[in-house]
Amino acid sequence: MEVNSLTAMAILVLASYIFFYLPASRLRGVLVLIMLGIIGYALVATVAEMPTFGASANPPHNEVYQRYLHQAVEDTGAINAIAAIITDYRAFDTLGEVTVLFTAIAAALSNLKAH
C-alpha cells in the first residue's frame, strides 16, 4: 500500500487550477469530491503505515523526550514541563509567536480603521 505523495500533490494542484477557473456548478462539486477522495486516500494510506497509537516505543519518544523529562526541573526549576519548554528551552519560538500576535492586531486595526 504505497502512495507516491508527489503524485497526490500534483493532482491536488491541477484540481485547484480547474477549481478556480470553473463557476459554481455540479461539475465543480464532483471535482471537489474526487480531489478530496485522492487526498483522503493518501492520508489513510499514510496512517495505516504509522506505528500503533499509544505505544511507548514509538519513534517520537526518543532521547529528546527523555532529556526534557529528566532535566527540565533541574534546568529551569519549573515543575510544569510544558511551561519549561515554552518559556525557557524554546523561548525564542515564543518571541516569534508574540510577534505574530502583534502583527495580527496591527493588521486588523489598520484594516478596520482604513478609509
Partner: protein, 147 residues
C-alpha cells in the same frame, strides 16, 4: 442587552473569572496553564463584561489607550526580560545560566525568569483578545459616521 439577570450574574461572575485568570498566569510553572491560557481567560472576561453591559461600560473599565499600552508593554516586557540575561553576560532569553535564582521547585517563587515571561505573555494575549473584539464591534461604526 437590557436583561437585569444577565447584568447581575455578570457583575458577580466577572471578578472571579479574572481572579482565576491571574491565578493561571502566576502559577503557570506549577500547574497546567501559563501565559497563553491565563491571558485568554482574562481577555474573555473583559469581552463578557462588554457583552453583558454595553460597549461604553466596557471601554470605561479598560480604555483603548490602556489596552494598547498593555499590549505593547507585554511585547516589550518580554524582550526586556530577555535583554536582562544579556546584561548579565549570557545569551538572549536564558534563564539558569544567566544567574536567575531558581529556588525550590514547587514553590511559587521558583524558576527564575519564567515568571516574568509568563506575566508578559499573559498581558499581551489578554489585551490582544480584548482589543480585537472591541475593534471588530465598533471600528466600522466610527468609520461610517465620519464619512
Amino acid at each position: 442587552m437590557e436583561d437585569l439577570l444577565v447584568r447581575i450574574i455578570c457583575r458577580l461572575v466577572v471578578p472571579f473569572v479574572q481572579l482565576y485568570g491571574l491565578y493561571v498566569i502566576t502559577h503557570g510553572h506549577l500547574s497546567p496553564g501559563g501565559g497563553f491560557a491565563g491571558g485568554a481567560i482574562v481577555g474573555a472576561s473583559m469581552i463578557l463584561f462588554a457583552l453583558a453591559f454595553n460597549l461604553e461600560a466596557g471601554s470605561r473599565k479598560l480604555s483603548h489607550d490602556i489596552s494598547l499600552l498593555m499590549e505593547s508593554g507585554g511585547a516589550i516586557g518580554f524582550i526586556l526580560a530577555g535583554f536582562v540575561a544579556m546584561l548579565l553576560g549570557q545569551n538572549f532569553l536564558t534563564n539558569k545560566a544567566a544567574g536567575f535564582p531558581l529556588g525550590v521547585p514547587g514553590n511559587l517563587f521558583s524558576s527564575g525568569a519564567i515568571f516574568f515571561f509568563s506575566v508578559a505573555i499573559g498581558f499581551k494575549v489578554g489585551s490582544t483578545m480584548c482589543t480585537l473584539f472591541y475593534n471588530l464591534i465598533e471600528g466600522s461604526d466610527r468609520h461610517r459616521s465620519s464619512e
